[in-house]
Amino acid sequence: MNDVVRARGPFLTLIALKKGPKHGYEIASYIKEKGGGFFSLSYGSLYPILHNLEKDGLIKGDWEDVGDAKSKKVYSLTARGRRALEDETVQYRNLIKVFAKLLEVKV
């Protein structure tokens, strides 16, 4: 199960950012809540995903001041990231349909 979550980590992160910018903690919480607890990304595995996505230009990180000379890093989808999310979503929909057929279940 951990391998499944890790493999889907980038996609889950892009989904989490679809509705708006979030920082690391909010992304991890969103994935856990919306996934009904099925998906749970630890911070240890989330940070490399975020940094890789940023390096690939799919998300961008901006610093937000939170007072007392502190700041937090907030991530948002780039245009390229939105396109990648749409492409991946189409692939998943097709995958679901194919598996539904194979398993003879209604989706």
Binding site: Y25, Y43, S45, P48, H51
Partner: protein, 239 residues
């Protein structure tokens, strides 16, 4: 808050600066956010700190993964090589431009003549000392800027040895030049050669000083720049 934990994390990470500093700031921001949320939920200061640190925790494997994300392409290539070759490249690749320059310049007849004028054995000693000082600094430059190895070990392994070599280089150049002038003046005063020959002879010892000053100056400039960069890079971390 969380200063000691963040400092510990900074030391254990190997990713280069300024990315390391930025990442620590990011973790600090997330820790602070979670701590504030937990406090608003009624947890005590100690409970909230403990819970925040247990949730936002990076294991050794996590750090290896995130270090790999920020590893430079050159470092990735070098790490793939067998260990002895990898070490050779890390230690000596920086000196390649120096060697190329040296080989190129020795093929120039005018350069060799110039070096001979200053007294070849002494000039060679000057070149070797200055060259070693430059090679040491170029090794650091290669590690820090090409391999982007900003690990504790790499940053700490930076001494003032090249500055002493620069001083020795300059001193050798000055002494050799002074000895050269001493010889010229001595023979000139004993009428061993004419005035015109003496005038030509007065310029020759300067070759040693020129080479020494150039080598020492380059060593000092490069060392100063590396030292300033090293100080600033580790100051970039301010959670």
């Amino acid at each position: 808050m969380f200063h000691s934990e963040l400092k510990d994390l900074e030391k254990r990470l190997k990713m280069p600066y300024p990315e390391r500093g930025d990442f620590i700031r990011e973790v600090a921001g997330d820790l602070q956010h979670l701590y504030t949320k937990l406090r608003s939920e009624g947890l005590s200061n100690e409970q909230a700190s403990k819970k925040a640190l247990s949730e936002i925790y990076l294991s050794h494997d996590d750090m290896v993964v995130i270090d790999a994300v920020h590893e430079s392409t050159a470092a990735k290539l070098v790490h793939k090589l067998p260990s002895p070759l990898s070490k050779l490249i890390r230690d000596y690749s920086g000196t390649v431009p120096l060697l190329v320059f040296f080989i190129f310049s020795t093929k120039e007849v005018s350069m060799m003549e110039f070096l001979r004028e200053g007294g070849l054995p002494a000039v060679i000693a000057v070149l070797v000392m200055g060259g070693v000082g430059l090679a040491i600094n170029l090794k650091h430059a290669f590690r820090w800027f090409v391999l982007r190895d900003h690990s504790d070990e790499s940053l700490k392994n930076f001494s003032n040895g090249p500055l002493y070599l620069a001083a020795a280089t300059l001193l050798a150049g000055i002494v050799n030049t002074a000895v050269g002038y001493r010889l010229v003046f001595s023979r000139w005063s004993q009428d061993h050669f004419s005035d015109s020959v003496a005038r030509a002879g007065l310029s020759e010892p300067l070759a040693s000083l020129i080479v020494a000053a150039t080598a020492a100056g380059l060593v000092i400039l490069l060392h100063g720049w590396l030292s300033t960069w090293r100080t600033n890079i580790t100051r970039s971390l301010r959670p």
